[in-house]
Amino acid sequence: MKSGKEQTTDLRWTLQKRMKEVLGRSLHIRHVDSGSCNGCDFEMNTLTNPIYDIQRFGVDFVASPRHADMLMVTGGVTRHLEEALIKTYNAASEPKMVVAIGACACSGGIFGRTYANYGGVGHIVPVYVYVPGCPPRPEAIIEGILLALDRYEELSRNRYEELSRNKGENRH
């Protein structure tokens, strides 16, 4: 399996191709703001503008976690938004791919771990991919999406093998 870093050479429709391979159809993303400064959110908004235009690959930002395959979390989870994050995570449909965008979401960043800040999304929900940067470039976010698809493919294959093994055991 090629990692995201090796896929750089061809690339015009790599993202769309990978999504078709892994998920079957398109990818919908729900953006969760858990107390960020809006820097990372702006960089995520640029993904849909005419320069990056990620919607041509079938990626879209949706308004509800129930419609989404992927959660993009920005900000280092403040005490007030912890509940919101957990509720969003529970409401999201499988696969619950969580991508942590920015230094704050990865490890607290400049705020660190304090009484009001949990210091990273990883303390609250399981994270697939970390995208560091303050803020990360839109291209780095696209790479994060590609890596999350790789991770999902790995996990689903392991799960499938496990299930088929269990089936075999039950038969005998």
């Binding site: 320069i51 970390y130 560091p132 780095a140």
Partner: protein
């Protein structure tokens, strides 16, 4: 009117055909270790706004470790360092599945201070 059409004609489409283009040369991206000499002056650790750099001093070696997860890519550490152990590159693709990959460290030998520090 014609100027506007001409401008649109010249600009053409702005949509990127390649996903990963190289960042501008002066873009502050991934800091890397370029030498293995450290004076142990702790200028980088004190000047880092996010506290991403830690120094651990043994007898004659110093381990400088840097965490990309907390780093905000301001480039102050590269500016203040005398031995240029840390340098800022324009590499921006740091996304990873494994968080441990984002902490790097470098063994450095102790070097003497080049400029005498003023005692205040």
């Amino acid at each position: 009117m014609f100027d506007l059409i001409r401008k649109i004609w010249r600009t053409k489409t702005v949509t990127k055909t390649e996903l990963f283009t190289e960042a501008p040369e002066r873009f502050r991206g991934k800091p890397i270790f370029t030498s293995n000499e450290c004076t142990g002056c702790q200028a980088c650790t004190t000047s880092c706004p996010a506290g991403a750099i830690t120094l651990q001093q043994n007898d004659d070696t110093i381990t400088v470790s840097l965490s990309y997860t907390t780093c905000i890519f301001c480039g102050i550490c590269a500016e203040v360092c005398e031995t240029n152990i840390i340098e800022i590159t324009n590499e921006y693709r740091l996304a990873t599945k494994n968080k441990n990959e984002l902490t790097v460290s470098q063994q450095a030998t102790l070097a003497k201070l080049l400029t005498a520090r003023k005692e205040v």
